[in-house]
């Protein structure tokens, strides 16, 4: 491989940056370099350059350190004497010149990053013809880009939010170190830190979030991101290494996008990676920020692998089954207190489940919230109020079914048989999309304490559901659309083997506490599969008839995705009668005759994080179109 020198890189930056056009015109502008790394005797910055393209008659009128009160002295021949011309109108500044002109900056700050403001003026100066970019070489680490931005006028003070995209965070993983450099007014306060789209809000250190800041100069700070995992529970360990989107809210009387700047980078086994930081006006913690619209999933007590969430129905907290195998919301009448004016008693529904249990009831309109204090977690929607049936005994923990598959296999379609009209109760997420444009939700689970199983108290979360706006790349998602015969959403799956493969529709169903796979799957995946030899080893220990013995590897692939798992439990586990509330990949043989679908239940879903993406327009608005599975 050809060795890339700093001069080659500088040339590349000169070329690339000259292609960039920016929209606003002005006779003077401020170029902001939020986290300039600068060589200083004894620090680890070997070299740092800022490439600058501007009209030849333009003048650098001042250089200062944002928020610090430090204005750099002008060299005797003016600031333009810091420019090294590369071609007409193309310059670079060797940033190692700055420390001697900018007194008052702590030596350590040059290494952690300072927020430079460079004012440029001239008759033709505008953001259309001034461009800049920079980089620094760090001893032993590599190259870090120094991004720069233009500031055109101030914005209203108050709150800003930093979004650190794909922050890599040390957490006993391959990330060695990771920092966000932050410049902000000295009296500004970090009010919250959260993980975008995850529903995870980081807890505050005892002395507030500002205690995470290391001050390097006046108004200049950095955050060592390795502090975050202990304050942000619920993030899978693997996520810190693959990257999380951090949202950092900052408030203060003078806070605006003009005086808050940030940049981030991390160092890992492959070198240095920059994590770009976006600064946006406003504090989104109490608006439609998806990160706050979430709820925990708890282990149910009715049976193993029962995911329970609490939702608020007309203000009443109710525990329901979180069920991606159904649409709509049904709840026992005794668990809610709905005003009679909202009861549609002439619209009745009935529902039967696969085990033969059933419910019947009447339709109602109710306000359903994940969190009553967060407005955009609340929707007014039709629900089914169960008046009789045995599917959800009132003595059980689950008082109904919170359908989360966001399709048309609906539990509560209420019919008025005298008028011929009907009321349909779609899934809660469908209404969330229609009322707030929130078109995505993520269902994630925490690692199980004993590897493939855990015995979790009913008061301890096992995962969470978070609602937000999907802004990722749908090309990498798995198509997951409604089957028009059943209303059930599914996707095409392939179960491969060395000699053949078996294809079938696949769906993911938290409401099923086992994987239900057809005998065809096992015949394909397990060499010389025999129902008599390879099933029911645990049937004598209270496990259901048809349970596949532990230890078989089952592989499957979907569009854009593939994985495998090992069936559980082993005979020795069953013999030991170990208590558990959660278990991965306990799998039932559903037979030859169960035509049409392979049902991955919670036992497979526990291993992954699922993202449901709903259509935000068109005839299927609010209905699922794609899912993402990770890992």
């Amino acid at each position: 491989m050809k060795k890339i020198t700093s001069k080659v890189l500088l040339g590349a930056l000169l070329t690339a940056s000259s292609l960039v056009g920016l929209p606003h015109a002005s006779d003077a502008l401020t170029l902001d370099v939020p986290a300039a790394l600068v060589p200083y005797p004894g620090n680890a910055i070997r070299a740092a350059y800022l490439m600058l393209s501007m009209p030849q008659d333009a003048t650098i009128t001042s250089i200062s350190i944002v928020n610090s009160g430090i204005s750099c002295y002008s060299p005797p021949s003016g600031f333009n004497s810091l420019l090294h011309p590369g071609a007409p109108g193309q310059y670079y500044i060797d940033l190692s010149q700055l420390p001697s002109y900018c007194p008052g900056v702590a030596p350590s700050a040059w290494q952690s990053g300072v927020d430079l403001a460079i004012n440029i003026s001239g008759t033709d100066v505008s953001t259309s013809n001034v461009n800049a970019d920079g980089y620094a070489l760090i001893n032993g680490f590599g190259l870090k880009r120094l991004p720069s931005y233009f500031i055109n006028g101030g914005s209203q003070p108050g709150n800003v939010q930093l979004v650190v995209t794909a922050a890599l965070v040390p957490d006993n993983n391959l990330i060695h170190s990771s920092y966000v450099m932050l410049s902000m007014p000295q009296d500004a306060t970090i009010t919250s830190i959260s993980i975008v789209n995850s529903g995870i809000s980081c807890s505050s250190p005892p002395s507030g979030f500002n205690s995470l800041l290391h001050q390097t100069a006046q108004g200049q700070y950095y955050i060592d991101l390795s502090q975050l995992p202990s304050y942000c529970p619920g993030v899978a360990p693997s996520a810190w290494q693959s990257g999380v989107d951090l949202a950092i809210n900052i408030s203060g009387t003078d806070v605006s996008t003009s005086n808050v700047n940030a940049d981030a980078y991390s160092y890992f086994v492959f070198g240095l990676k920059r994590s770009p930081v976006k600064v946006v006006q406003g504090n989104n913690s109490n608006s439609s920020s998806p990160g706050t619209n979430s709820t925990y999933i708890y282990p149910g007590t009715d049976y193993p692998n029962e995911p329970i969430i609490t939702v608020y129905i007309d203000g009443q907290p109710v525990q329901l089954l979180a069920d991606t195998g159904a649409s709509g919301l049904i709840v026992n009448s005794s668990a809610v207190n709905i005003p009679s004016s909202d009861i549609y008693s002439s619209y009745s529904f009935s529902q039967i489940f696969g085990d033969g249990s059933y419910d019947t009831g009447i339709m109602a309109s109710a306000t359903v919230c994940l969190n009553p204090s967060i407005t955009n977690s609340c929707v007014v929607m039709p629900i089914g109020v169960i008046t009789s049936g045995d599917a959800f005994p009132t003595t059980g923990e689950s008082q109904g079914d919170f359908g989360l598959d966001s399709s048309l296999n609906i539990m509560d379609i209420g019919y008025n048989y005298s008028s011929g009209s009907s009321i349909t109760g779609f899934s809660y997420p469908t209404y969330l999309e229609m009322q707030y444009g929130i078109n995505s939700y993520t269902i994630s689970f925490y690692p199980l304490s004993n590897g493939y199983y855990a015995n979790v108290p009913s008061t301890t979360p096992i995962g969470q559901i978070s609602f937000g706006v999907y802004n990722g790349n749908s090309n990498t998602l798995i198509p997951y659309a409604m089957d028009y015969l059943s209303g059930l959403p599914d996707t095409a799956g392939v179960f491969p083997s060395s000699s053949t493969s078996f294809s079938d529709n696949v769906f993911f169903d938290t409401g099923s506490n086992y994987n239900f796979l057809s005998t065809y799957v096992f015949q394909t995946e397990i060499p010389n599969f025999s129902q008599s030899a390879d099933e029911n080893a645990c049937a004598n220990y209270g496990w259901p008839y048809g349970i596949v013995n532990g230890g078989f590897v089952i592989s499957y692939s979907l569009q854009n995705y593939g994985t495998s798992f090992t069936t559980e439990p082993s005979l020795s586990f069953c013999e030991a009668y170990t208590n558990f509330t959660l278990m991965e990949d306990n799998t039932l043989d559903s037979g030859y005759e169960m035509l049409g679908y392979e049902d991955f239940g919670l036992s497979e879903m526990l291993r992954h994080t699922f993202t449901w993406v709903l259509a935000n327009s068109g005839p299927n608005q609010g209905l699922v179109q794609y899912i993402g599975i990770n890992p």
Binding site: F353, G354, A391, N409, S486
Partner: protein, 114 residues
Amino acid sequence: MNIFLGQPINNVNNGVMQQKVVKNQAFKVVKGKRFTYYIKTDENGIVKEVVARSSRELAPASYFIQNPENCTKKLVMRVPLRMAIWQYDCPNGKIEYKTFGLPGFLNTEAKLIK
């Protein structure tokens, strides 16, 4: 519609019957008003297994077992909300009656096991 196990297929006289191969399994398929039936017979045309599919209903055992009141019924297993298997010990043999599925996709299966 009744499709009794252990009886000739030609007793099924409501609906149009078609031959179909689903996942390498040969079925006779009958579309009724409420269910679609997938029927397996032996070489003599005797009904051995029936699967009834509907989006919103499970077929009662009496659709497949003649005089079920003469049988002893035992729950073999139940997976909450998704599956149940019952065994009917009848004067003419044992029958497994299985229900399976979820809203929008419900199967009832009955087969002679002895």
